[in-house]
Symmetry: C2
Subunit: 151 residues, 2 copies
DNA sequence: CCGTATCCAACTAGATACTG
DNA sequence: CAGTATCTAGTTGGATACGG
């Protein structure tokens, strides 16, 4: 997503990066406050993973349990290519969200499953998914209206 | 994000796209089930917005309240360009997440604020942000380990 | 079966200059 | 102030062929 990709492994700044403060608006809505550019709320690190084309679907499919490469590929909508599935799984593995197990058999067999951290994130994906499904009609309508009034 | 971008305004298929079923694993974790390729869980529509470089930050800043263009630009980390801020705001407006109000003054004044739907989504962004902040150390460690063991 | 390597097409975002 | 227009660079993703 972002060119260069925010590097969370960078040494912490001299001032300890305190967790961004949470405030509320008058209406009681949450406000995310980033005090320094360095923390960037750490949000980009998550969204870089969520934002690419396939990570979300891989996480979702793996929530059901352990899957082999080919099985995973079959289950994912939109025909993910071998290359993209490999890249996606490597990134998720690197981030500690997915565990990869290789059985040295012939032919080779590789299994993928969520780590504990991956599972904790999958709950958020569920919320996102629910929101998305619930608001899809509203979004569709908003887009139609916008497109009509903006020729 | 995705070339072509999933079009929620497309006419519904002959079979009514029933909401994807929700299941639980043995462990009690949520499973998102997409029965047809068409629904795709509607997730891509959300993530296409979340996944681009600036939408998240715009939403976050607007959670605090109404802001003018220049104010918004100043608050966003990483120096968003005028062009990118404009594009981002237009997309969010089109999706019904942001409301744009033009005051025909001289010089011109334009205000941006979240819609109700936008505010309902900002809660999810907060969850994502919290998770991200909480797990940033773990992700950083996972990446270091991975990079060490994969030369 | 599970990848890696290579090449190519598409999109996103940045820089810069100009307008109502 | 709040944009639009244009041009370019960098990245992602798809297709295909080949290797362990």
């Amino acid at each position: 997503m972002s060119p260069g990709h925010t590097d969370v492994t960078a040494p912490a700044a001299a001032t300890a990066p305190a967790a961004p403060a949470a405030r509320l608006t008058e209406a009681g809505d949450p406000v995310i406050v980033c005090e320094t550019p360095q923390d960037e709320c750490g949000v980009r690190d998550v969204l870089d993973r969520l934002g690419d084309k396939w990570s979300m679907y891989v996480m979702v499919e793996l929530t059901a349990g352990t899957l082999r490469f080919k099985e995973l590929q079959r289950r994912i909508h939109g025909d993910v290519s071998q290359r993209m599935l490999t890249l996606t799984l490597r990134r998720l593995e690197r981030d500690g969200l997915v565990k990869r197990t290789v059985y040295p058999t012939v032919p080779p067999q590789v299994e993928y499953e969520l780590t504990d951290m991956g599972r904790s994130m999958s709950h958020l994906l569920k919320s996102l998914s629910d929101w998305s499904i619930a608001h899809r009609p509203a979004i569709a309508e908003a887009r139609s209206e916008y497109d009509e009034s903006h020729p």
